[in-house]
């Protein structure tokens, strides 16, 4: 074997292969297709990539694995791996380098689970006016008297019939025209982009054309596959942003670009590949699922190579569109400014440095094939405009979906993602801002934080009398109190559960207004951690979990949530002050967990200033809705460009009293401000505590 290579085997997946010596276990896992959780992007701070190096000779694989076959123990690891775990071989995947053959066990909690994405399309009103329209025309074939060229023949008919003037076409489309005209016996359907360019010609009369609107989130990418004529959403597809492996937040990605030669291209290639995968998913969904063919005896039929023969198995009563990638003739993209820049390989460095200018505000129309996006190669990808460095095309999407600039009501729109984006105002004036909520609200950096995947606690109730906890996990409908302990299979806690937990801890008096655990506790769920002496509160006992240890929320976790919610609350308040307003009429919460947010809990924890509970609305993935609106109505693209330049971006951290405001907003629900709408929801003594 090559001296510079070593054999690495990952368990329990069994993936194995030779890797160059000197790379980290995380890098090796990536090469071998094993997903290890790395929320911090290998910054050695999240401690989620704990793995165990097995000792001994493993005959089955023919390797001798030893703790000495990896690089020596590093100081950073001590924070996450106690002495006992260290003894049994635990290491951090991002620190430990391969120096010889090893067998690596990836424990359940370190495996990156499949995320449950809830970015479903909402029913919003959109006018049908797509950028790509189809026109049916019938022409006379050329004769000696009238030998005009094929392209001009089409243009002449489109002008006569539909008044379309001065059309052009790209070479790819042109190459196909002569064949299609004759195949269709001079009756064809022409797809025209923005009344300017012929992007496709199909034989005969075709009634439908298709497009896809995609929201590229820092963590989640969601696509809405639509019929451009009926406006129907045919399918919603999603995936985890493949760039997550370079770091969980926008800053980590920008840093990756700044510190890694070729890093920008790598990240761009990854997301483009992801988008193509997403498009393939959407296309595959238009065909019946395939199953193994069985003979009369119920045995699987195999082909000459011994592989099972697959046959289509349509669901009864369902029609299948059977589309190809070529049938996707338009695409819109939204994303925060950093995702926008990285995808387009525009230098994102300056977006990460104050005063955070983007490379471009204006929207872009880019030929799909220039981006290597595999839809109809002559189609354009419309990239929505950016507002500012930290308020990108995704926020423009939110704005054109919610249209606060057409409303009399003063609206506050909060888009909670890895970065929080805020918009405030009405048709008179709109301002936007962003705040560093950090990844805490999405589960990172908390002791048992995780993504919204099966086993994540998503709802929590705590009894104020007994301090007993009831909760619900993703993947199981029944709450804890209606289940057996072993049925819960808890792994951790995700975003919506994190919002719930702070509100419930406060309402039950388990933590005080300042966020510290109360000295008066009513249950044995409160305790001091044996290892570090930190106070913690048990949400799920070990027997209710699949990771064989108590799932707790620690004092430090509470502090992290407070930082995030303080940033959002303070942002809202400073924006209101900037506009000279005391209150707002409506609060809209957007984002992946926008529809999952319990609005009562959001108010109790003080995510934003006091307001009527009935006026708090979850608007789901409004950014994706905006992308869809721009796909189906080209006027929305014009509107988006106007909005992006007419919403005033303000930088909150430079406000004179930011520090004071931020610190007041970290308390629950707020250090000084009254919350009259919590009267009755939270007991007197809790709400009015000193």
């Amino acid at each position: 074997m090559d001296d510079n290579k070593a054999k690495v085997i990952f368990q329990p997946s069994g993936r194995r292969g030779e890797v160059p010596k000197g790379i980290t276990l995380i890098e090796a896992s990536r090469m071998l297709g094993v997903d290890i959780e790395s929320l911090c992007g290998e910054k050695k701070v999240c401690g989620k990539c704990r793995v165990r190096i097995e000792e001994g000779f493993f005959e089955k694989f023919g390797i001798r694995s030893r703790g000495t076959h990896v690089s020596p123990w590093q100081e950073e690891e001590e924070k996450f791996i106690n002495a006992e775990a260290r003894k049994s071989g635990y290491r951090l995947g991002c620190v430990t380098k391969v120096e010889g053959d090893v067998l690596v066990f990836v424990p359940e909690e370190s495996r990156a689970g499949k995320q449950v994405v809830s970015k479903a399309a909402r029913d919003i009103h959109i006018e049908c006016n797509p950028a790509v329209r189809i026109y049916y025309i019938e022409m006379d074939p050329p004769t000696f008297e009238e030998p005009t060229g094929d392209f001009e023949r089409i243009c002449r008919e489109l002008e006569r019939e539909y008044g379309l003037k001065e059309l052009k076409s790209d070479l790819l489309t042109l190459r196909r025209i002569p064949g299609v005209l004759r195949e269709g016996k001079w009756k064809v359907t022409v797809s025209v982009w923005m009344d300017q360019e012929i992007i496709r010609v199909r034989p005969g009369k075709v009634e439908n054309s298709y497009g896809i609107a995609i929201d590229v989130g820092t963590t989640t990418v969601a696509g809405y596959f639509c019929n451009l004529n009926t406006m129907e959403v045919i399918d919603t597809v999603s995936l985890m942003n493949p760039q997550c492996k370079y770091g969980e937040d926008v800053m980590a990605r920008i840093t990756f670009h700044m510190t890694t030669p070729g890093g920008l291209k790598r990240m761009s290639d990854d997301i483009i590949e992801g988008l193509n995968w997403l498009i393939d998913q959407a296309i595959q969904g238009t065909y019946p699922p395939k199953t193994k063919k069985k003979d009369e005896n119920g045995k699987t039929v195999k082909d000459a190579d011994g592989e099972p023969v697959m046959v289509e198995t349509p669901e009864e009563g369902k029609t299948y569109l059977r589309l190809t990638r070529e049938d996707i003739e338009d695409m819109t993209l939204v994303g925060n400014t950093a995702m926008h820049h990285i995808l387009l390989q525009l230098n994102p460095e300056y977006v990460g440095l104050a005063p955070f200018p983007p490379v471009i505000h204006h929207s872009l129309d880019i030929r799909a094939r220039d981006l290597n996006i595999r839809i109809n190669p002559s189609a354009y990808v419309h990239v929505l405009p950016n507002e500012a460095g930290f308020v990108g095309a995704d926020n423009v999407g939110v704005l054109i979906a919610e249209e606060p600039y057409k409303s009399d009501e003063i609206q506050l729109i909060i888009d909670i993602g890895t970065n929080g984006e805020l918009v405030f105002g009405n048709k008179e004036k709109m301002i936007s801002s962003s705040c560093a909520t950090g990844p805490a609200l999405e589960g990172a950096q908390l002791a048992f934080g995780m993504r919204a995947a099966p086993g994540a606690i998503e709802r929590i109730k705590i009894d104020p009398e007994t301090h007993d906890v009831d909760y619900k996990v993703i993947g199981r409908d029944a709450w804890r109190q209606y289940s057996e302990a072993k049925e819960m299979k808890v792994k951790g806690i995700c975003g919506s559960g994190i919002l719930d937990v702070l509100a419930e801890l406060y309402r039950a008096g388990i933590v005080t207004k300042s966020g510290v655990f109360n000295k008066k506790q009513k249950s044995n769920r409160y305790r001091k951690n044996v290892d570090n002496g930190q106070p913690e509160f048990v949400l799920a006992w070990a027997e209710e979990t699949s990771i064989e240890k108590d799932v707790v929320i620690t004092q430090k976790d509470v502090r992290q949530i407070q930082l995030a919610k303080g940033a959002l609350h303070c942002g809202c308040k400073l924006m209101m002050r900037r506009m000279g307003m005391e209150k707002m009429d409506t609060v809209k919460i957007a984002g992946a967990f926008g529809t999952h947010v319990d609005r009562e809990k959001a108010l109790i924890m003080g995510l934003f200033p006091d307001c009527e509970i009935d006026k708090i609305l979850g608007v789901g993935n409004a950014a994706g809705d905006g992308a869809r609106a721009a796909l189906l109505n080209r006027e929305k693209r014009v509107e988006a460009n106007w909005v992006s330049r007419n919403v005033e971006y303000i930088e909150l951290t430079v406000e004179k009293d930011f520090q004071q405001q931020f610190m007041e907003a970290m308390q629950i629900p707020h250090m000084k401000d009254a919350f009259p709408h919590l009267e009755g929801l939270v007991s007197e003594e809790i709400l009015h505590q000193k």
């Binding site: 800053m251 840093t255 990460g352 440095l353 930190q534 004092q555």
Partner: protein, 222 residues
């Protein structure tokens, strides 16, 4: 009339309980009764801040509480500091402090600044979003012993490396401290810095430890 010990306790408690009035009154009485102002600072205010540091370390106090304690401490410092004779100041050091270019977060920096203030340093605060060369120029101009830089974002952290190089080239004896959320011990040593603080909180603890050591020294002198 309260004894010296009672007044010192009031100063300390006032800081811990972030009660500016208590601190102000105690500081004034302390002066009125003729006790040395420096004792009030080190054995009253600073002693209180050491307790605050412990509470922070145990997560019982959080940034808001620490900031309020800092306000109380400054209230006392404003009264006592003018009465400390120049020649017996605890530390005759100077420090240049600021948040690096591209970064506008300065809560952590302000806390560290306070620690230097308490310890008796002359602090040259450059504020935030400070152009890198300004650190170098200010150090040269003032001949400061310490340059302390903070960055909250990984993107801006990279700028600190340049400053370290620029300063060390001109004056290798200057001690350089780095701080801020993304800064790790590795980063600090990689950048060639002399000290680091992992986060605002950590900086507070580090700085408080620094004060504790100063107090020990003083006690030994007595």
């Amino acid at each position: 009339m309260a004894s010296k010990e009672e007044l010192l306790k009031q100063l300390s408690d006032g800081v811990v309980e972030y009660d500016e009035e208590v601190v102000k009154n105690a500081a004034q009485s302390f002066l009125d009764d003729g006790y040395p102002a420096l004792d009030g600072i080190m054995d009253g205010l600073a002693a209180g801040m050491v307790i605050v540091g412990d509470l922070y370390e145990r997560n019982e106090y959080f940034v808001p509480e620490v900031l309020m304690c800092a306000d109380a401490l400054y209230a006392g410092l404003d009264i006592l500091r003018p009465h400390v004779p120049a020649d017996i100041s605890t530390v005759k050091g100077q420090v240049v402090i600021g948040t690096v270019q591209g970064d506008v977060h300065d809560i952590g920096k302000n806390l560290v600044k306070m620690m230097f203030d308490v310890a008796g340093f002359t602090v040259h605060d450059l504020g935030r979003d400070v152009p890198l060369e300004n650190f170098v120029e200010e150090q040269m101009r003032t001949d400061s012993d310490i340059v302390a830089m903070s960055a909250m974002m990984t993107t801006t952290m990279l700028g600190m490396k340049k400053v370290v190089q620029m300063i060390k080239e001109k004056n290798p004896d200057v001690a350089i401290m780095l701080g801020g959320a993304p800064v790790t011990k590795d980063v600090a040593s990689l950048f060639g810095a002399d000290g680091y603080a992992e986060s605002a909180g950590n900086a507070v603890q580090e700085a408080i430890k620094m004060i504790s050591r100063l107090r020990e020294l003083r006690q030994k002198e007595h």
